[in-house]
């Protein structure tokens, strides 16, 4: 394969110069045009189908609810990547998607051709790395972070496969948010006194004006980290979400939230031990003007999170502990927004009880359905469901939490074992509706054992186990006693070259009572709703996967999901699903 190097004599005659245009833009260094590979292509083809059967008490004497359904789609994401010279790259993805069986009048919405992504990235003068367009952004867990929807660190491969599709469809790449705008990063090396300074700045638009009463909303962020040496590291982060009021004729509101945090990390190293002292802290400033109420609400709060860890290097065993205090009015929408709408309607077999009731999205729906997910930043705290995590529903930045965390972890890519165990003893900082405080106890952990590596087998063999136990209690006039248990078990075995059998089981139990806070636009609690459950959700999965090459496979699974609601047998149902998937990625 021969790729012609495009060079432009005209450009090559021009020496690289450095242009300084202060006030408009600081631009450094024109790089000689060198054309290595102008264009290449990437792609992902996926065909995905389900066949569903629904049964159980929820459908007793029910002649209207859908008992069987099948859904399928095929899509192709065609990536065109252009690099006119080595310091610039444009990446685009064009999506064609067809819903199998959708035709005629359904075609308009179901079968689409879509511009999934455009991103321009490059280096300015080898100093600033920039990305423009569709970008994935994150900072710290308190500033800009897209937390996982629930604890699922040690799932079966059968579940990971499903979850990866959901993540891809919703741009959940790690804990980044997908936004549109620009981000700039730099990494400056120093000869003396300092090792390096890392810096990042980003500006994105998270809401577009409707020109009449809704203004543009932006996220502006930045961080500077000074690495004095491998022993001392100090940083500062800033992030704000704000409305650009003038972009609407008659603005209905004006919102801004600013957050400034400081970070530190000190390291002390011995022969076999490594100690780290780290932490982050800072205030938040919330301000919201609502024209309809002629009211401006302002409040400030703060958080701190201090940690210490000790690593025994020969065993790669890490013991860590920390104490955090996140104020009840601490506000950080870019870290507290949920990536999933807990109350959204499932897309598969969604009706029960004579089609009169929408089935609440279960743990299986949350794991497998793309349409439940949220990609926008919400400035108010979204409603959550305690059964999927009550101690930290908004991630580490969950407001009104304080307490200790202690954990132990072992992770090594060369090792056959990865394990993690964590205990959190948290409480509220301020009572909600009463002076009494909720207390939260969290026990989480899991392991992943690569038996093939352990036994030097050529074929894949691995098991996973994960668990999470949460207890919420509160005494006083409005007592709360709520518990959840989550257990994950998985096995994968490659019994024929490239062909694996995948087994997985997941069990979630929630029992007790809670009170769900209702909030107004200013995030103030206005009422409480009872949340009383005694339910068990179980997923049993068996499947096959044939891997063509990396990230390309064909798989068939049988999934059995059982929802047991002790309080209301009308919600008891069994859902069987056969899932097939072909994914080719190049």
């Amino acid at each position: 394969m021969e790729i012609k190097n495009y060079t432009n004599k005209q450009f090559n005659k021009v020496k690289s110069t450095r242009l300084f245009i202060l006030g408009l833009m600081m631009v450094t260094g024109i790089v000689h045009a060198q054309f290595n590979k102008l264009i290449d292509y990437s792609g992902l083809f996926r065909m995905n189908g389900t066949y569903n059967r629904l049964g159980g008490e929820a459908l007793d004497n029910d002649s209207l609810s859908e008992r069987r359904s099948s859904n399928a789609y095929a899509l192709f994401d065609f990536g065109i990547n252009v690099s006119p010279y080595k310091e610039l790259k444009v990446s685009t993805i064009i999506r064609s998607r067809s819903v199998i069986g959708a035709s005629f009048s359904q075609q308009v919405g179901a079968n689409i051709m879509q511009f999934r992504q455009i991103r321009i990235e490059g280096n300015l003068g080898k100093v600033i790395k920039y990305q423009l367009g569709d970008i994935d952004v994150s900072m710290t867990k308190y500033t800009l972070y897209n937390s996982n929807e629930s604890y699922h660190d040690y799932e079966s491969d059968a579940f990971v496969m499903r979850r990866n599709i959901v993540a891809y469809e919703n741009f959940n790449i790690g804990n980044n948010w997908r936004m549109q705008g620009g981000q700039f990063e730099s990494n400056l090396l120093f000869r003396k006194y300092l090792d390096r300074v890392k810096a990042k700045a980003l500006l994105t638009r998270v809401k577009k004006s409707n020109l009449t009463n809704i203004p543009d909303r932006y996220v502006l962020g930045g961080s500077v980290t000074v690495v004095q040496s491998k022993y001392v590291q100090l940083g500062a982060n800033y992030i704000s979400v704000f409305d650009n009021v003038g972009t609407a004729v008659d603005t209905a509101y004006n919102y801004s939230n600013r957050l400034l945090t400081g970070e530190y990390k000190f390291t002390y190293e011995m022969d076999k031990l490594l100690f780290n002292l780290y932490g982050e802290m800072g205030p938040s400033y919330f301000k919201y003007f609502l024209k309809s109420q002629r009211k401006t609400e302002k409040f400030n709060d703060y958080f701190y999170d201090l940690g210490l860890s000790a690593t025994y290097k020969p065993a790669k065993l890490k013991l860590y502990g920390g104490y955090r205090n996140v104020g009840p009015l601490f506000s950080s929408p870019t870290a507290q927004t949920l990536r999933l709408y807990p109350y959204s309607t499932p897309t598969e077999v969604s009706k029960i009880q004579n089609a009169s009731t929408t089935r609440q999205a279960s743990i299986y729906d949350r794991m497998t359905q793309e349409g439940l997910y949220n990609q926008s930043i919400y400035v108010g705290l979204m409603q959550y469901l305690p059964i999927y995590g009550n101690a930290s529903p908004y991630g580490q930045a969950t407001p009104n939490r304080t307490g200790l965390t202690v954990g132990l972890s072992h992770s090594d890519s060369a090792s056959s074992l990865t394990l993690d165990a964590k205990v959190e003893m948290l409480s509220e900082v301020m009572g909600e509706g009463t002076n009494a405080l909720r207390e939260f106890k969290v026990y989480q952990g899991g392991l992943k054992l690569d038996l093939a590596k352990l036994a030097s087998l050529k074929k894949r063999l691995g098991i996973t186990f994960g668990m999470s136990n949460e207890q919420t209690t509160r005494s006083g006039p409005a007592p709360i006693d709520f518990k959840t248990n989550l257990i994950d078990v998985g096995l994968n075995y490659e019994f024929i070259n490239r062909l694996e059998v995948l087994l997985g089981a997941k069990y979630l139990q929630g029992k007790g009572n809670e009170l769900l806070a209702q909030r107004d636009l200013f995030n103030n609690i206005t009422a409480f709703n009872d949340y009383i459950i005694d339910s068990k959700q179980t997923i049993l999965t068996a499947g096959l996967r044939y891997r063509f090459f990396k990230d390309s496979y064909v798989s068939v699974q049988y999934n059995s999901f059982n929802n047991k609601d002790v309080i209301s047998s009308n919600n008891n149902y069994q859902w069987s699903q056969i899932w097939g998937n072909l994914t080719i990625k190049f």
Binding site: V14, N81, P84, V90, K126, Q131, N244
Partner: protein, 678 residues
């Protein structure tokens, strides 16, 4: 936002200062694996296109290891662009937002609807397939993504109705055949100028057009020196609304014959306004018997030595009542045209007729006295004669043109501007988004209109190969006085103004503004009780271009002056006294300074003065229109790679009517754009 800007500036400054201490940064991960994993295989580079040197690499669809068929190749080419346009107004019309950020749209979508940035593809992708050596197929796609922040599919959709601009070409022993299907604006100039031509409008090189195809600063500056205006891309410009459908072009037939055929559907903003029903942009519907705004046309031509003559026919027809489809309107155009080339000159003529018939009970032009009668226009003439003298053959390259076009010749797909106010349905265009009707419109120097008899001239002289002057004029008189109105195109700040009610008519503080795509018009009423006269329209354009070296670098300076007036008096020179209903002067000075081939510093100054007399709109205290518009812009084109550039424009602009006090706006506008060709 000043705070934001400060942060960005300081941040960039710090980085720049510390540049020497930096390490190299690696680009982020690609989307997907390398091609080595795929069955797609590069085989060779694309042949340069006749217009530009495309760099699309051809790929082979054969399986890996198989011999590559020589011609079974696909190539991709196109362009990406990311743009941000930010506007802040100190003063603005009531009902218009003080600030606006338009990402990747370049113009504010009307109604604030999503996916309305149709004229500005963020990604234009053209695939070219050549299954055999004499057959080729090309398909164009346009994609939008307006970065709403909400990540929904509506904001990142393919631009369907500009999609699938496909053409296939085959060469045979009896001739070349090219068949094309297209979205709107796909077929300019398939027939003749008066049946399917395209208008031109004044845009200078400072103006950053969204489809700007120049990869090189040298080329752009050179083009600017040699041409009066930057041309518009008919696919996206909406200057000619075009036809959605199919065309067959046959050339090099025996006996010098040629033939073109077109069938399709007229765009919703063209002659036939569709009422109460969203427009169908679907080719199948075009061909069905239920089509209600269809067009069919044909041209047969004959080459006689170098000369060309042809016969053209075009039929536009449609139902103006979409539901019952009982009211069928038709308009036909039948012309003959030809061009005769001689060593020192050329002669171009077109002569024909057109007739418009509608049973629509809406009345002629919506006038109350004819309400309920329908309308039959009778035969309308379409006449044009143009004589040109070539560069090199004469001292002053020039052309002269006379034309006469009847008032009922309404064809938005042609070069004829519709000034008579009908939109072929017979309905008065009070519809909010009917923006292709310019009642009694003042023209630019090289434009023709219906209901006019006119004379155009254009003379150019170049001195020392570095100083060029051009004088162009357009005198025209109404055939009949249809409207006591005058529509004027604002020349200063037309792009900015067009966003204050984008794609709307009857807007602005006095309901006089009509905004088109990147252009803005204003309509004034004539208050005469006795209007038994014909209005005369005068245009003089005077352009100067000068190129020189400044500090050893090429600089090109330009000046464009336009005098435009309307009067009931017929004079040999533009009426610039109180006897003119409306006088407009526009002066524009622009500069391109090529600091090096990569970096072009560009600037523009503009001033517009509009004066009315006491026979048009007046204020309550008896004062007339007296407008002043200013603009000052600075920017650069930084072509940092052969195929990629960064473009920045900063414009300050203002407009104020001394007497109509609500007619005032002032602000600034920043446009930044990255464009990459491939």
């Amino acid at each position: 936002m000043s705070f934001l800007r400060s942060i960005l500036i300081v941040t960039f400054s710090l980085w720049t200062y510390a540049a020497m201490a930096s390490d190299s940064l690696k680009l982020g991960a690609n989307n997907g694996a390398k091609l080595s994993n795929s069955r797609i295989q590069f085989v060779r580079n694309a042949e340069p296109d006749e217009n530009n040197s495309r760099l699309g690499l051809k790929i082979n669809l054969a399986k890996e290891g198989e011999e590559v068929p020589k011609n079974a190749v696909v190539s991709f080419s196109g362009s990406f662009r990311l743009s941000a346009d930010y506007r802040v107004m100190d003063k603005i019309y009531a009902g218009v937002a003080q600030k606006a950020l338009v990402l990747n749209g370049w113009v504010q979508p009307y109604n604030a609807l999503r996916n309305q940035n149709f004229a500005n593809p963020l990604l234009y992708l053209e695939s070219n397939i050549k299954p055999t050596s004499k057959t080729s197929i090309s398909i164009g796609y346009a994609f939008n993504h307006d970065f709403s922040g909400e990540n929904d599919s509506l904001t990142r959709a393919a631009n369907i109705w500009r999609l699938l601009m496909a053409s296939a070409q085959i060469e045979t022993k009896v001739g070349k055949f090219k068949i094309g299907t297209a979205g709107a604006s796909g077929f300019p100039n398939v027939l003749s100028p008066l049946t399917s031509g395209q208008n031109t409008f004044h845009f200078n090189s400072f103006f950053r057009l969204p489809w700007d195809w120049f990869k090189s600063n040298n080329d752009k500056v050179d083009y600017f020196y040699n041409n009066q205006s930057v041309a518009l891309d008919p696919r996206f410009s909406s200057t000619s609304a075009g036809v959605q459908g199919a065309v067959l072009e046959c050339s090099q037939l025996p006996y010098g014959l040629g033939a073109n055929f077109i069938v399709g559907k007229i765009n919703q903003t063209t002659g036939y306004l569709e009422i109460n029903d969203p427009p169908s942009q679907n080719l199948l519907r075009t061909l069905s018997k239920d089509a209600y705004t269809q067009t069919m046309g044909a041209r047969i031509s004959k080459m006689i030595k170098k000369h060309v003559i042809g016969v053209n026919g075009l039929l536009n027809s449609g139902f103006v009542n979409n539901y019952t489809k009982t009211l069928h309107s038709t308009q036909y155009f039948l012309t003959t045209n030809g061009t005769f080339y001689y060593p020192k000159m050329f002669v171009n003529f077109e002569a024909g007729i057109s007739e418009f018939t509608t049973p629509a009970p809406f009345g002629q032009w919506g006038k109350p006295e004819t309400f309920g009668q329908g309308y039959e226009s009778g035969i309308n003439q379409m006449l044009s004669l143009k004589v040109g003298f070539n560069k090199g053959a004469v001292k002053y390259p020039s052309f002269f043109q006379v034309y006469s076009i009847g008032k009922d010749v309404v064809n938005q797909n042609s070069s004829i501007i519709n000034t008579t106010g009908t939109n072929n349905t017979g309905i008065m265009p009070s519809y909010l988004y009917e923006v292709n009707v310019f009642r009694s419109c003042m023209l630019e120097a090289d434009q023709v209109a219906n209901n006019r008899t006119g004379f155009l001239f254009d003379i150019t002289r170049e001195f020392w190969k570095k100083f060029k002057i051009n004088l162009a004029g357009n005198y025209s008189q109404e055939i009949s006085n249809e409207w006591n109105m005058i529509t004027m195109q604002h020349m200063a700040n037309k792009y900015q103004r067009s966003q204050f009610g984008f794609y709307k008519t009857n807007t602005g503080p006095y309901g006089r503004i009509l905004n088109q795509f990147i252009r803005s018009y204003e309509t004034f009423k004539i208050t005469d009780k006795d209007s038994s006269y014909k209005k005369n329209y005068y245009v003089w354009d005077f352009t100067m271009k000068y190129k020189a070296k400044l500090f050893g670098k090429l600089i090109v300076l330009g000046s464009y002056t336009s005098f435009n007036s309307v009067s009931d008096k017929l004079w040999p020179v533009p009426v610039f006294t109180e006897q003119a209903f409306l006088r407009q002067v526009y002066e524009e000075i622009n500069m391109n300074y090529l600091i090096n081939p990569k970096f072009n510093l560009t600037a523009q100054l503009g001033y517009e003065k509009v004066l009315g007399n006491d026979r048009i709109d007046i204020t309550a205290d008896g004062k007339t229109v007296n407008q002043n518009g200013y603009s000052a812009g600075l920017g650069f084109d930084w072509v940092f790679s052969k195929n990629a550039g960064f473009y920045l424009r900063q414009v300050w602009f203002s407009h104020k009517d001394v007497n109509f006090v609500k007619d005032e706006f002032k602000g600034w506008n920043t446009l930044a754009e990255i464009k990459v060709f491939f």
